[in-house]
Symmetry: C2
Subunit: 211 residues, 2 copies
DNA sequence: AACTGTGAAGTTTTTCACAGCC
DNA sequence: GGCTGTGAAAAACTTCACAGTT
């Protein structure tokens, strides 16, 4: 009977899978399904059905015995759990090729993230409009981010500048950084950091290749 | 005494950390260091020193008691383990904003990956040169990839086309896919797949945010 | 009949702690 | 004194298997 939603601390590894579940539900939903099961989800994701049920059970009973899970209902619940039942403002630092591509990427808005400020240190970029954003100078970062109470940032600067940008972001009061630079950041313990490094992904695969 | 390098099967989770270690070593090296320790590496990465020692011990004794690890030596060893002591050819499918950004990204070549063919289905892109690559039609994918014996591919097409592109790649004989589309792929068990989804990274952080 | 939610069992992963070496 | 490599212990995570519900 006792379940430990609300207060207790859920393992990070469980939290890490929830966005994957949510993404799969979005897909099922767009394919026109209204109901699914832990078995069906598991098949699609290559995860055991027991694991999915156990993961979800941390937050309460979202399913119906004999039936499965109502997709829309479960999406709502997961969005609430992940705090993406609202829109988050995100700052983007670095407007080189990578930053530009991020600025153009349409996939953020659909899923609750809104780029609301862009920064670069290069004088020839500052003031220009890229993907509809006016590029602001790095010197404005602390003011803009703290005034607007922006909590998330993406770092798309060269590796050698990533740590100093991270330091600025910490000072500005950001709580989470998505780091595209291929380098590990050192940040205070209250900060969240996630890494996007395609080369790490590639290297994780070549290990399994024979030749 | 017995150590199980060569034959035995190393946990995936250990393999997954090796590229992170390699990246940290690259960094230390570029900062001019020649020697490091499991403690120093662990501090930088937020990983315990014992874990780093145990991970490395799967492949043999790379360190020296009392001294630590010679950085260049360890880099070489990890590159061999991960099979990145050579260059890998990679196919890129999808030349929209994202594909273009990937094509322009300089970070692959330094670390052993070379984009050697680009594909798109849009007739207005085929034949054009983007970032030095001539875009080829999707209909050529199987021929080009299998003839050149390309083993790795990156998918940068919209979510709704990602699965059919993956099917083509499997047919063409690719063994690993780095998928930038926000969707899970279903592939035969011998295939490796890694995902790049920045929104998943963001959602993994907002869970920990209060407001 | 089908499926969830969950204790208990089983497995994997991490940490401890120390012998051995530089 | 400082550090690695590693068995043994501890912790974390996953799977099993089934009672309970629709």
């Amino acid at each position: 009977m006792a379940s430990n939603h609300e207060n207790s601390n859920i393992p990070d590894i469980v939290i890490g899978r929830l966005p994957i579940y949510l993404r799969a539900l979005n897909r099922l939903s767009s394919e026109g399904y209204e109901i699914t099961s832990s078995h069906e989800l598991g098949q699609r994701l290559g995860i055991s059905s027991a694991q999915i049920r156990k993961d979800l059970s941390h937050f309460g009973g979202f399913g119906k015995q004999g039936t499965g899970y109502q997709i829309e209902f479960l999406q709502d619940k997961l969005r609430k759990v992940l705090h993406v039942d609202r829109e988050w403002e995100v700052a983007l630092v670095g407007m080189g090729d990578l930053g530009k591509a991020i600025a153009h990427y349409k996939g953020f808005a659909d899923r609750g993230f809104h780029i609301s400020a862009c920064f670069d240190s290069a004088p020839d970029k500052v003031g220009k409009k890229i993907a509809g954003f006016v590029v602001q100078p790095l010197s404005e970062l602390i003011t803009v981010v703290s005034e607007r109470n922006i909590q998330l940032a993406m770092i798309a600067v060269p590796a050698e500048h990533a740590q100093s940008v991270a330091n600025l972001l910490v000072e500005a009061g950001v709580h989470g950084i998505l780091n595209y630079a291929p380098i590990n950041l050192t940040v205070p313990p209250h900060m969240q950091v996630q890494y996007i490094d395609p080369v790490v992904g590639l290297q994780r695969m070549t290990y399994y290749f024979d030749e």
